[in-house]
Symmetry: C2
Subunit: 315 residues, 2 copies
């Protein structure tokens, strides 16, 4: 197969299930052409996934593609944006038609689920499988959430539960990457984290700051605090641990892809209403402090901070 044939057969899907009057020109030219609706701003993010680093070779192509879209959609949720378009940089170490078919199906299933259209990218040969995806979304002018605007005395919230994806990774490691050993819940947490875009957009006006949980609660919270020039205290007994997840995994395990956000205590009731309306489970796990430290507290007593706060590729 030539590059053009791979693109045409697996990626140039004429009707991706989404009608998009703003996409003026999609796959097939030197670039895609997009009309940004009036009053909207462009939101852009990009995340790569590399074999043996972000996923094991045994990961089904469908799941891999679905997750690649999902982790990028997660960044859109963190900005309260609506994901719209994406480009794919696919580096293939081999051309396996069955794998490409599964990958393509997973990609377009996720694209349909989150209403994102593939508008371009490239397919190249490489020595190892490397997936780069860039996502573009829109947000009404001035209506995005950011991580640098947390305020002192804000409550700190997370959506969903913590640590289940990390426990899935640990389970795979323990069992030679045998996916049969994963519980259904672990498999869902690892490959189908659900991004609640309606809830995220509902946070605008209620939440002061938000980001997505990708590298571990403590590391991500530290980043939010650094960007906002504040500190935080986390109440350990309030952490929503997933079943069979220990506290350390919940604090430092990555890949949760829930939202971490802060809001004034005065917004608590409205937040609870929004969460109920959008079927989103939220937990208040602590509060933002003036002193720029990260503190863990259990039953009023300060606890030691884990040596590693989360996942870093280069540490």
């Amino acid at each position: 197969m030539t590059e053009a044939e791979i693109i045409q057969r697996f990626f140039q899907v004429p009707a991706q299930g989404i009608s998009d009057p703003d996409l003026l020109l999609g796959i097939g030219d030197d670039a895609a052409l997009i009309q940004i609706p009036e009053g909207q701003q462009l939101v852009v993010s990009s995340d790569s996934m590399v074999i043996a680093r972000h996923f094991v070779a045994e990961t089904p192509g469908y799941d891999l593609a679905y997750k690649l879209v999902t982790v990028n959609v997660s960044d859109m949720a963190a900005m309260a944006a609506t994901p719209r378009w994406m480009t794919l940089n696919l580096s293939l170490d081999s051309v396996d038609e069955a794998w490409l078919k599964a990958f393509s199906e997973g990609l377009f299933a996720a694209a349909k689920h989150y209403a994102v259209t593939l508008v371009g990218g490239d397919v190249v040969r490489s020595g190892e499988l490397n997936l780069g995806l860039q996502i573009m979304g829109t947000v009404a002018a001035g209506k995005s959430l950011q991580r640098s605007t947390a305020q002192i005395d804000d409550d700190i919230y997370v959506t969903g539960s913590l640590g289940l994806a990390a426990s899935a990774v640990a389970c795979l490691k323990q069992h030679g990457n045998d996916h049969e050993k994963l519980t259904a819940a672990q498999s869902l947490a690892l490959y189908r984290p659900n991004i609640n875009l309606d809830f995220a957009r509902g946070l605008v006006g209620l939440s002061h700051a938000a980001m997505d949980l990708s590298d571990g609660l403590l590391l991500d919270l530290q980043r939010l605090c650094a960007a906002s020039q504040v500190g935080a205290v986390v109440q350990l007994e309030q952490l929503p641990l997933a079943d069979s997840v220990d506290e350390l995994m919940a604090l430092t395990g990555g890949e949760d892809y829930g939202l971490l956000f802060t809001a004034s205590p005065a917004a608590a009731k409205e937040l609870a209403t929004l969460a109920a309306e959008q079927a989103c489970v939220i937990h208040c796990i602590g509060s933002i402090t003036k002193d720029r430290e990260l503190n863990l507290v259990r039953d009023g007593l300060r606890q030691a901070i884990p040596t590693s706060l989360g996942f870093d590729h280069f540490k």
Copy 2:
């Protein structure tokens, strides 16, 4: 170094030399936030470069980064767009500070030259060096060039000369990737192809169809013809061969990064004026035909088509 330190030290350059009122939020949050000026459309493209496929390990980091930006800017030129913003997906097999410094310098030198701002991306660990870059530009509504709109009897033009980058690749291959063996012209052709954005934008209204030359003249011309549902005849004696480049290399060698475009013969005088004004060398190399074939002609006689029309990763 942590991932955050690599980003901060080498990529989060506060003043990239470009004042950009449309960039509302750059590197550091979950996503970048961009205001598209009124009346402008968004143009999006993405190209990867993988070690041992697109470049040799001996390629200096500065040159590699400069070229990565350039090949993406080339796609913007092909649409007559103005490049504005880019995201970088950098997969590193090692953390070499000197290399990262050189890469960063090359990236920002090219970014400054073409007035593009790095707005996001990610840095991950990998087993081999893999560079993904997505570029975003703007174009006035309805003023982009496309490859699917060539018209029968159009003249076919190329900018610059053909085959010099391919001859540089051949030279490196012949001499064990010793960069000292490259002539200055070869080195420039391979690592600093000059994208003439003013000329490209000037083509709007004069040219019917355009694309950039990346994989070899014949393969790219075949793509333009297929998209436009036309054919082409190339007059071999009119090919602008670079010094010491043979005809086959000019026809099928990739990486020229000039423009391939078509225009009505009636536009020839205006095109010559534009080319002179923008210091762009252009050559008419043939014409668009109704029958959907690719034909090579020398002195009125049909010549054989090369077996391989250009570069394909998967053939």
